[in-house]
């Protein structure tokens, strides 16, 4: 057992905090969106460590509650695209042939599109909405996962253990799910973390353009976007959600990288 690097430990701490916030926001900050029109915008002060936004909502509470909006969406994207990636990439890599050709043409097609732009077009045209943004991102992210999974499967496919399983007359489905998949799952998982981070940033970008979560939702991207006119009045209302996004995404990236490296090292050490 090697010791956890400091950065990874810190990343896990951040993720834990975010997860706690996301899960227990309704109890931690039951009244996060509570308005105080009399107060309006204010800088940090007693009772409001990060100040308030123009509806008099406490920025810190919004941040805590924001984890509940910002994170699950990105998680959905990561999980959804990983699911598609596995479902498509596994047969594509293992079976090859037309399945592979079809899957790869699809991935090529998606890769020749700029993901965020397509998301903007689709969300913009169809009027935005959180679910739609997530669905679009899932579709756009899936090819990356598909390629990663397929690449990993291709690497495993000709390993003797797979061929031995074929020689034992096991079904392709069984070989894929029971033999190949457990060995590529860590790669897929590591990639999912990286996607998670990228989805978080992308969703925040969509929210920034007004295409993500509904107005008034305590979402980080939304809070940042709503308050960016207050940059000089209460910079914390902008900096804090920005930091929340960056810190969470960075933590996810760090964990993803760390997982990747571990997989890589295990692969090389055999």
């Amino acid at each position: 057992m090697t010791r956890l690097p400091v950065s990874v430990a810190a990343a896990f701490a951040v993720l834990l905090a975010v997860a706690v916030a996301a899960v227990s926001a309704p109890w931690l900050v039951p009244d996060a969106t509570g308005q105080d029109l009399m107060l309006g915008i204010a800088g940090p002060g007693p009772g409001h460590p990060l100040g308030t936004d123009d509806l008099g909502r406490d920025v810190l509470q919004l941040l805590v509650a924001g984890a509940r909006t910002a994170v699950p969406g990105a998680l959905c994207v990561a999980v959804g695209s990983m699911l598609i990636g596995n479902l498509v990439g596994l047969p594509a890599g293992y079976l090859g042939g037309w399945v592979d050709a079809l899957a790869m043409r699809w991935a090529d097609l998606m890769f020749s599109l700029p993901a965020l732009l397509v998301a903007i077009v689709v969300a913009g045209v169809l009027g935005g909405g959180y679910g739609l943004a997530i669905a679009v991102l899932v579709v756009l992210f899936a090819p990356t996962d598909t390629r990663v999974v397929r690449g990993a499967v291709l690497e495993q496919r000709h390993r003797p253990y797979v061929e031995a399983a074929r020689l034992k007359n096991l079904s392709a489905w069984r070989i894929m799910t029971r033999h190949v998949w457990p060995n590529i799952a860590p790669v897929a998982l590591a990639n999912a973390f990286l996607n998670f981070a990228y989805a978080l940033v992308s969703l925040a970008s969509l929210s920034f353009l007004g295409l993500g979560v509904p107005a008034g939702s305590p979402d980080w991207g939304r809070t940042l976007s709503d308050n960016r006119t207050q940059l000089l009045a209460n910079p914390w209302a902008v900096i804090a959600p920005g930091l929340a996004i960056i810190a969470t995404a960075a933590a996810l990236n760090i964990v993803g990288d760390w997982l990747y490296e571990r997989v890589d090292r295990r692969g090389r050490a055999r």
Binding site: T33, G34, Q35, L37, M38, G40, I41, D54, L55, G56, G124, G127, G128, G129, G210, P214, A215, G216, D226, R228, T229, Q230, L231, L232, A233
Partner: protein
């Protein structure tokens, strides 16, 4: 590329003396210089520096002579305009009655795709009745037609120009031609417009040789630009940012009514909003004072009814307006009463609905959010959704939702403009402007009579009656009359500033400030 006239001084003038170039930051971009081709308000800000109408609007909101030296209503259906002599277009050609007719025809001709066409639907005939006289004949008498040849729905340009430019009017290649104090030298849609002074303007010599208008939709960028001294004038500073703008050294912030109305509209043809108790309940749940105070930072006025008091100029006197407004029933912020009304309604247990607002109006969104919060306490769930401006407009046109946020800018100084559009049952139905589908024959009757009235005072009375009658049915809950804040950087001063400041060649009214 942008090329100014040769031999002129440096574009951004030195420290000493008044600046040569005025740099203006607009809060949204325009894609056409032709105000009749786009729905935005900023088009006027640009176009009115270059183009003029037959009649102008005074600071008190009354009609003033402009390109028409004088005009008269010969009979209820006939208007005669005498064209000012000695006026030339920016390209040097003199203005003739025929040019005015051509300009009017752009909107009045059958099959016109102009956005102003609605204002000319009642026009029967337009003709140049003399070398300097234009006569307009209507199909039906309409008192408010007097406002139609004002800048809101008419911008005069030349016949030759129209024929030569065709579909290209307002585009970067075609640009626009007018008689105003400036002419367009460069137009980059979504980026900037550069104007050059028209030294032959009949109104005198405008103070700035050049005006560059940049479109900077990102509010914080605009603020930083002013702080950095790279703009002189910024229009429509958002209310929530006003304090920050004020804090910029040397910046002078002027606010005035922008003749806009933000109102809640209830679809009286749709359940449960067809129940007046529901409408009253929701109306009582709106904290209009609170919204004006916090969302608008006090830069707005609680709207008692549809037209802004400043719009009655020439129709009703100030005292009459005051007494009229006091007689209009109001639904003040009172959650207890809201609850009581809801209890008496068809949906005593509450219900849920969706309220959309345009992305370009964040203040509408905030108001909607406070409303949603109040409604929650009485059991109504209102989901607030931001949609792109175009989608919001489309939804307004469909009349399919139960509740809307309407946002209107008056293009004229005529009080009847939106009263007719919002309350007259003639405008109900899909694509109509009566988004509440409000159909009260009594009200419609009053409004139709107002259209025919020749006497301004009589017209005012009829309109007032209609407003009072309609208020009892609560098809709308007016929220506020907007105010626009304009920031003038150090070095730019303005003597007079009011609701009609930008309705006209506004830059000509600016002066250097020390």
């Amino acid at each position: 590329g942008s090329t100014g006239p040769a031999g002129q001084g440096s574009p951004s003038g030195g420290a000493a003396g008044p600046r040569d170039v005025l740099r203006v930051a607009l809060p949204s971009s325009i894609s056409s210089l032709d105000a009749s081709k786009e729905a935005g308000i900023m088009n006027y800000v640009v176009a009115l520096l270059c183009q003029e109408a037959l009649v102008g609007v005074g600071q008190d909101g009354s009609l003033q002579p402009a390109l028409a030296e004088s005009w008269s209503r010969k009979d209820p259906k006939t208007y005669v305009y005498t064209i000012r002599g000695g006026v030339t277009f920016a390209d040097g050609t003199p203005l003739a009655a025929d040019d005015v007719v051509a300009s009017l025809d752009l909107h009045a001709k059958k099959g016109s795709t102009s956005a102003f066409a609605y204002a000319y639907a009642n026009v029967d005939k337009i003709e140049a009745s003399g070398p300097a006289e234009v006569t307009i004949t209507l199909k039906q008498p309409d008192a408010s037609f007097a406002w139609t040849p004002s800048p809101g729905t008419l911008l005069v340009t030349g016949r030759k120009f129209i024929e030569a430019t065709g579909q290209d009017i307002g585009t970067p290649t075609g640009k626009i031609l007018g008689t105003g104090p400036y002419k367009v030298t460069e137009f980059a849609p979504d980026s900037h417009v550069t104007l050059e002074r028209n030294d032959a303007w009949w109104g005198g010599k405008a103070p700035y040789r050049q005006i560059r208008l940049d479109f900077i939709p990102e509010e914080s960028t605009r603020l930083l630009a002013m702080r950095g001294g790279s703009v002189d004038v910024a229009l429509n500073v958002p209310a929530e940012q006003i304090d920050q703008w004020k804090a910029v050294p040397g910046v002078e912030l002027k606010t005035a009514s922008d003749r806009s109305l933000v109102t809640l509209a209830f679809n009286t043809a749709k359940k449960p909003w067809n129940d007046v108790h529901v409408r009253r309940a929701v109306a009582h749940a709106v904290d209009r004072e609170g919204i004006v105070r916090s969302v608008l930072r006090g830069h707005g006025q609680v709207a008692a009814t549809v037209p802004d008091p400043a719009q009655w100029g020439g129709v009703l006197g100030e005292a009459e307006v005051k007494s009229l407004y006091e007689s209009i029933p109001q639904y003040g912020f009172d959650l207890a009463q809201a609850r009581a009304e809801l209890a008496r309604s068809s949906v005593p247990g509450g219900f849920s609905d969706v309220l959309t607002y345009p992305g370009s109006g964040p203040q509408l969104g905030r108001a909607a959010l406070t409303l949603a919060q109040n409604l929650k306490t009485i059991g109504i769930t209102l989901e607030v959704k931001e949609v792109p401006l175009e989608q919001w407009i489309a939804e307004l046109g469909k009349h399919a939702s139960g509740i809307y946020l309407g946002w209107y800018f008056a293009t004229t100084g005529d009080p009847s403009e939106y009263v007719q559009q919002l309350l007259n049952s003639a405008y109900a139905g899909e694509n109509g402007s009566n988004i509440a589908e409000y159909d009260n024959p009594e009200v419609t009757g009053l409004l139709d009579r107002a259209k025919e009235a020749v006497e301004e005072a009589a017209r005012g009375k009829l309109l007032g009656e209609a407003l009072v009658k309609a208020a009892a049915d609560v098809p709308y809950q007016p929220l506020w009359w907007g105010e626009a804040a304009t920031a003038f950087g150090p070095g730019v001063g303005t003597g007079e500033f009011g609701p009609y400041f930008f309705v006209g060649p506004w830059a000509a009214k600016l002066s250097a400030r020390s």
